[in-house]
Structure formats: structure tokens, C-alpha cells
């Protein structure tokens, strides 16, 4: 229907766009980068039209259009990784430096915050990010209230710690 058209029509993001920016936010280390994990990409693609983090069907496409205007080639996905990092670092810094009045800030900052949050959440709630990069233990079985930092596994499933 209409929503599917919006997400895949002329204003849609290029196939590579989400994969590339996800890897720029969370790159490969000893574990895969966010863009390499199909379930992270699937999560972000579902989260936007479902309205999570203020997203919509048009969020990814609009972010890509905005980023296209910031690289010399006018195609963000064709830019070198170094150029992408340069553009994203600047936007990221501004987007979190100050929250302008609604409607006053550049649209790209709001789009970036939304997509970045979805990538971070998608990654650490994926099996790769949640259980391999960090530890996942559904049944801790005990509570250690006060131990030296680093002496116990750090769980991705600290639920309350990740609500806000």
C-alpha cells in the first residue's frame, strides 16, 4: 500500500545507504559492524515506519537526500569512507551539542538522531550486539550488588538501564 510505496518509491533510501551508515556508527571490531548484521538493518527498516524514535517511512530517504547535499559527488553512498566519516562526525557533533527549539534546527540533525538511535538499539538488541559484542544472560540467577568494575560480565540485558 501507500506506506510500502513511500518506503520503496522515488524518495526511498538507496539499498546501500543504511548498511553504510550503520557501519559508520558501529564498525567491525572483533565482532561485525552494525551494517553487516541483517537483523539490525531489518530492525531499522521496521522501526522507522512504526514511528519509533520519531521516525517514519520517509526518514531514511530524507536523511540520505540531506547527506547527498553535503558531499562533493552529491551521492553520499559513493563518497569515500573517510569523507562519510567527516560529514557524519560534524552532523553528530552538532545534533547532540544543543537541542534547538523545535522547527529551528536543521532537519538533518533530527533525522540523524532518529536513525542513529535506531541503529544503536538495533545493534545491541541483535544477537550479534547483545550476545556476542556484550553478554546476554536471561537468567543471572543471583545479584552481586557491589563488585569491582570488570569483575563480572556486562550484560546487554540490563533492562531498566536501557529504557531511557
Amino acid at each position: 500500500g501507500f506506506h510500502a510505496w513511500l518506503a520503496s518509491g522515488p524518495g526511498a533510501a538507496s539499498p546501500d545507504f543504511l548498511r553504510q551508515i550503520a557501519n559508520q556508527v558501529i564498525p567491525r571490531s572483533r565482532t561485525p559492524g552494525a551494517g553487516e548484521v541483517p537483523e539490525v538493518l531489518a530492525f531499522v527498516n521496521r522501526a522507522m515506519p512504526a514511528g519509533l524514535y520519531g521516525g517514519s517511512e520517509t526518514t531514511l530517504g530524507a536523511l540520505e537526500r540531506a547527506l547527498d547535499g553535503m558531499v562533493a559527488s552529491s551521492r553520499f553512498v559513493k563518497a569515500t569512507s573517510a569523507d562519510q566519516v567527516k560529514v557524519l562526525t560534524a552532523i553528530d557533533k552538532d545534533a547532540f551539542a544543543h537541542r534547538a527549539e523545535a522547527g529551528q534546527e536543521a532537519a538533518v540533525h533530527a533525522l540523524w538522531r532518529c536513525v542513529k538511535e535506531a541503529i544503536v538499539v538495533g545493534y545491541y538488541t541483535s544477537e550479534t550486539g547483545g550476545a556476542h559484542e556484550l553478554a546476554y544472560e536471561l537468567v543471572p540467577g543471583r545479584f552481586d550488588p557491589d563488585v569491582p568494575l570488570g569483575s563480572v560480565p556486562y550484560l546487554s540485558n540490563y533492562w531498566l538501564e536501557n529504557v531511557f
Binding site: 545491541y124 538488541t125 537468567v139 546487554s156 540490563y158
Partner: protein
């Protein structure tokens, strides 16, 4: 010959207790629940699922929530994709708010009601609490005191299991506790500094219906922190884990789900209720069941709704409403996130496991020699934790640096949320809307609710005290507020069928028995005449067990 000895309307915290106590005392009981059947263990459909096994990784469909769970989904600390089926669908279950007032009504329309999703905090009320209305003249005097309820608190705690620490405080009487859960490093740090500088204030672990030792066949808490999904260990009290198995074990319980009670029938010749009329919420089938007595446990607002709908020539304004107070004096603790701060000095400490419990600071204002410019008091609930990976989505940073930073916990944060006592006020009331109906075709309840100057003054003091204490503990304040959350936010709605000695001013007597209709009992939050400033569920349970014992002896004596 009646179909049943007793009908219990509702299967939540108090309905389950009524069913257990009445069946164990030999009565044949019908328990009626408006929502679907959720069996212990097998019914907890998302309990074991990892985030990546959920369609939205546990974050939920925000647009669906906006359309259909627009009230329930505001409880972001509790409501989520794993447990959304344990909350009422707001769109399908509409209610009205009186013009110019606001009340957020949180509901669990399923077997077990809100016992599946409650916060599990269990506190006894003290004589200061039961005596509060008499002391300052707001509301009517409770006809009972701590000594009347104490043995029933014992009875309830022994059965459900409550973990907590004995502190010897008059304002918050100790109970029969299982070993307490422990304070984490951040909380220990703040406790030491605050208690040293503010004698008389105590920062202690919550008293919680999460068990720390086996209770009968229920296993102790595994520190998963996912109680609201339902717990197959039975490690917290719910109808499913605790009272329902006991009631079923008697062989005297009939359970009916997907059925809403339209009204209670009354026989003017005998002056007693004769039974209930019901509507199937799925099949729309109408039914009628008779009983020798009725226990109203539908939850404060729905219990009042049933009574208001039960009109007759004798009771044109609702069953048991000769006093004219039915529906009036609705209350809810006034809550605010008094202060949120970063804790300094413990960054080298960590914890392991999800403790499903918070800290509390019991009331210390307006007791002893302390006198404030507001009446009654407030208590704090909150806790300390280290921020998780979610912080990465809300702060600057990307690439290898971000990923590396998120490999470990963030800074320590501490929150102090206040629960202020709510004065009884006749203008805060539940009524039936004259024209709007719900999905069963029954009149919608209309709620009129607002906080007054006393609640606001208490929350202002709570804000300044919280700020002062956290600063004294060396913390960095991030935010403070005294603005009350919307009414209903505490999910401690109380009143509407208040208890009192005088039939002209109250709906039920000291044994939760309707003054006007001796075989109708109201033992959920509707019976409350004041709110204290601690969580009320343990008191509801104790009053229910006490009322059930009284009801059965009265029944045997032919007095109901």
C-alpha cells in the same frame, strides 16, 4: 438455592485473595474475570524471548501504541513489547474524563489483572496512617487501626512471601520478612552519606513480593528483572502463582473468563443481593448467576462502576449508595520524579543481575517533632544504576570509539521519586457518563480528578529535600521537579466506596461490608478512606482476607 455461595468479581490481587480465602473456608465460589485466560507458565508467551526474537526487538510498534495503547504505553518503565498483552487496549476500552480534569487509568484486563504487572512493593500501614483522617479532619475516620489489620498482614505475608529488612520504624511497621534484597554500590554510597547527615531518615531496600527463599512450590527470584512478562519460577506474587492454585486446590472454585459483570441484582424484599448479570466480552452472550454473597474486586474504578450500574427502585443512584458517597473521594498518590542525579565516587564499582526491586525512604515529614506547612507526608522510591548501551543513541560519538565506550556501563545515576499522600476530596469522583458507552454497550465511567494545594506543597518539599540530600551525598543534580504526574500515574487509585463507621457517610463498614446490602463486600482499592504515602496492595490483601473471614462467619450465623 443459589448457584454459588459467593461470586467474586475480578481476579486480580484482591479477587484472587477473596477466591482463596472463601474457598478454603468451604464456600463454593464463582470468580468472574472480564479478560482472557492466562495460565501460569504456559500463558506467559514472551517470557523467555530474547530481544532479537521479538518483531520490534522489544521496543514495540510505536504507531500501534499511539493508536491503541495511548495511556498504557506511557508507563515506559513497565509497558513494553514483551508484556503489552498484560495491559488493557485503550482504544477498545474507552472511558471519559470530566471536562478540565485528567486521569490516566492503567488497567490489566486478563486473568490475574494487574497482579501480573504490579510493582510488587509491600508495605504495612501504621496507626499514623489509619488515624490520619481523624487527626486533621480530612475525610472520615477509619473504623479500624493497625491492631485490627496486623494479624492479617502476618497472614498475607506468610502466604505470598515478602522480602525486606526489619527497621523498627513506627511509621512503617516491620512484617514477617524473607531475607532482604541488597542495595547496590551506588545506593550504599548515598545511604551512608545521607543517613549520616540526616538523622531519622532511612534509605532502605524495598519490601517486595519477590521471594528470596522458596515459598511452597515457588522458586526464589532469579534476578531476571522481567517480572511483567509473567514469571514461570513463581518468584513474585500474582494470582496465577499464588492464590489461584490455592483456590483451585480446594475443588470449590469455578473460574469464568472473558465475562464482564454488568450489574449486581438486588431483592428489595430481603434487602440482599441475589447475584450478577454478565455479558460475554467475546461472544456477547448474556448470563445470570446467583449467589449468597458478592465480593467486589474488579479494581477501584470498575468496582465502583459495577455498583453505580446496579440501580433499582430501592437504590436509584447505585447499589449501596444511600449515603450518596459512592464514587466520591477517589484518590491516587501524587507522584513526581523529585530528583535525578549522577553519583560520583563509585565509578570503579559494578553489579551483576537485574534486581526487580527499588530503594525506599520511608516518610519522615510531619512525624515526631517535625511540622510542615502541608498535611501528612511523602515517601521516596527510586534507586541507583549505571546507564546502559542505550546512552550511545542519545549522545555524540560514533565509530570505533563509540563501540568501545559501550562495551562497559555508563555513569551511575540515582533517582528519587516521591509518593505524596492524597487528601480525600469529594470533587474527585467516578460517575457514569450519561450517553457514552463502552464496547459492551455499558455506560462509560467518567473520572473527575485533580490534585489540590496540599499534594502540590508536599511535592515541593519532596523536590527540595531530594535535591538537598543528593547534593549532600556529593551527587550532581541533573533534573528536579515538583509538578505532579497526571492523576492515576501511581496506579494506586483508591476510594469511591469508602470505609467508615457511619452509614450516612460511607459505603462499607469496618469489615468491608456494604452498610446498605449486608451480603455485598468491597475489598479492593475502592474501600479506602485515605491513601497514606506507601503502596496499598498489601493492605488490600489483608483487608480482603479479614473481610472474607468475617463474611464466612456471618454467613454461618445467618447474618448476611
Amino acid at each position: 438455592m443459589a448457584d454459588f455461595d459467593a461470586i467474586v468479581i475480578g481476579s486480580g490481587i484482591t479477587g484472587g485473595w477473596a477466591a482463596k480465602e472463601l474457598t478454603e473456608r468451604g464456600l463454593k465460589v464463582l470468580m468472574i474475570e472480564r479478560g482472557p485466560l492466562i495460565e501460569h507458565q504456559s500463558g506467559y508467551v514472551n517470557e523467555m524471548k530474547a530481544p532479537w526474537e521479538m518483531p520490534f526487538h522489544g521496543q514495540g510498534d510505536a504507531n500501534l501504541y499511539k493508536r491503541e495503547y495511548f495511556i498504557q504505553s506511557k508507563k515506559t518503565m513497565f509497558f513494553n513489547e514483551w508484556n503489552q498483552q498484560h495491559w488493557a487496549n485503550d482504544k477498545e476500552n474507552p472511558y471519559s474524563e470530566a471536562p478540565g480534569t485528567k486521569f490516566e487509568w492503567y488497567r490489566g484486563y486478563q486473568l490475574g489483572g494487574k497482579s501480573l504487572t504490579w510493582g510488587r512493593q509491600c508495605y504495612r500501614w501504621s496507626d499514623t496512617d489509619f488515624g490520619a483522617n481523624k487527626a486533621d479532619g480530612h475525610g472520615i475516620d477509619w473504623p479500624i487501626r493497625y491492631a485490627d489489620v496486623a494479624p492479617w498482614y502476618d497472614h498475607v505475608e506468610d502466604f505470598i512471601g515478602v522480602s525486606g529488612s526489619a527497621e523498627g520504624l513506627d511509621i512503617l511497621p516491620d512484617g514477617h520478612f524473607l531475607p532482604p534484597m541488597e542495595l547496590n554500590a551506588g545506593e550504599r554510597h548515598v545511604k551512608a552519606l545521607v543517613e549520616a547527615q540526616y538523622p531519622g531518615r532511612k534509605l532502605i531496600i524495598g519490601r517486595s513480593a519477590n521471594i528470596t527463599r522458596p515459598v511452597k512450590d515457588r522458586a526464589p527470584c532469579q534476578y531476571r528483572g522481567i517480572c511483567n512478562r509473567g514469571c514461570s519460577y513463581g518468584a513474585y506474587f500474582s494470582t496465577q502463582s499464588s492464590t489461584l492454585p490455592a483456590a483451585r486446590a480446594t475443588g470449590r472454585l469455578t473460574l469464568m473468563t472473558d465475562t464482564v459483570v454488568e450489574r449486581i441484582e438486588h431483592d428489595p424484599a430481603t434487602g440482599k443481593a441475589t447475584g450478577v448479570r454478565t455479558i460475554g466480552t467475546k461472544d456477547r452472550k448474556r448470563g445470570q448467576f446467583t449467589a449468597r454473597m458478592i465480593f467486589c474486586n474488579a479494581g477501584t474504578i470498575n468496582t465502583v462502576g459495577v455498583l453505580l450500574r446496579s440501580t433499582s427502585e430501592r437504590f436509584p443512584h447505585g447499589l449501596g449508595n444511600s449515603s450518596g458517597t459512592l464514587g466520591k473521594y477517589l484518590m491516587d498518590h501524587a507522584t513526581a520524579m523529585s530528583a535525578m542525579a549522577l553519583i560520583n565516587g563509585v565509578d570503579d564499582r559494578a553489579y551483576y543481575g537485574n534486581r526487580p526491586n527499588n530503594i525506599i525512604m520511608p516518610r519522615y515529614r510531619n512525624i515526631g517533632a517535625d511540622r510542615e506547612d502541608f498535611l501528612r507526608g511523602f515517601s521516596y522510591q527510586g534507586g541507583a544504576m549505571r546507564r546502559g548501551w542505550k546512552r550511545g543513541g542519545g549522545t555524540a560519538g560514533l565509530g570505533a570509539g563509540l563501540k568501545d565506550q559501550l562495551k562497559g556501563p555508563g555513569g551511575w545515576m540515582m533517582v528519587f521519586g516521591a509518593f505524596a499522600e492524597c487528601l480525600p476530596n469529594a470533587a474527585n469522583r467516578i460517575s457514569l457518563h450519561p450517553t457514552k458507552t463502552d464496547s459492551q454497550g455499558l455506560a462509560q465511567v467518567e473520572i473527575a480528578f485533580s490534585y489540590g494545594p496540599n499534594e502540590r506543597a508536599a511535592l515541593r518539599k519532596a523536590e527540595s529535600d531530594a535535591r538537598e540530600m543528593l547534593e549532600a551525598a556529593g551527587a550532581t543534580i541533573l533534573a528536579t521537579t515538583s509538578e505532579p504526574d497526571a492523576g492515576g500515574s501511581a496506579i494506586h487509585e483508591m476510594g469511591g466506596a469508602r470505609m467508615g463507621a457511619d452509614p450516612a457517610q460511607s459505603v462499607v463498614n469496618a469489615f468491608n461490608q456494604c452498610h446498605d446490602v449486608p451480603n455485598v463486600f468491597v475489598t479492593d482499592g475502592a474501600c479506602m478512606s485515605s491513601t497514606a504515602c506507601q503502596n496499598p496492595s498489601l493492605t488490600y490483601m489483608a483487608l480482603t482476607a479479614r473481610a472474607a473471614a468475617a463474611a464466612v462467619s456471618k454467613l454461618q450465623e445467618g447474618a448476611v
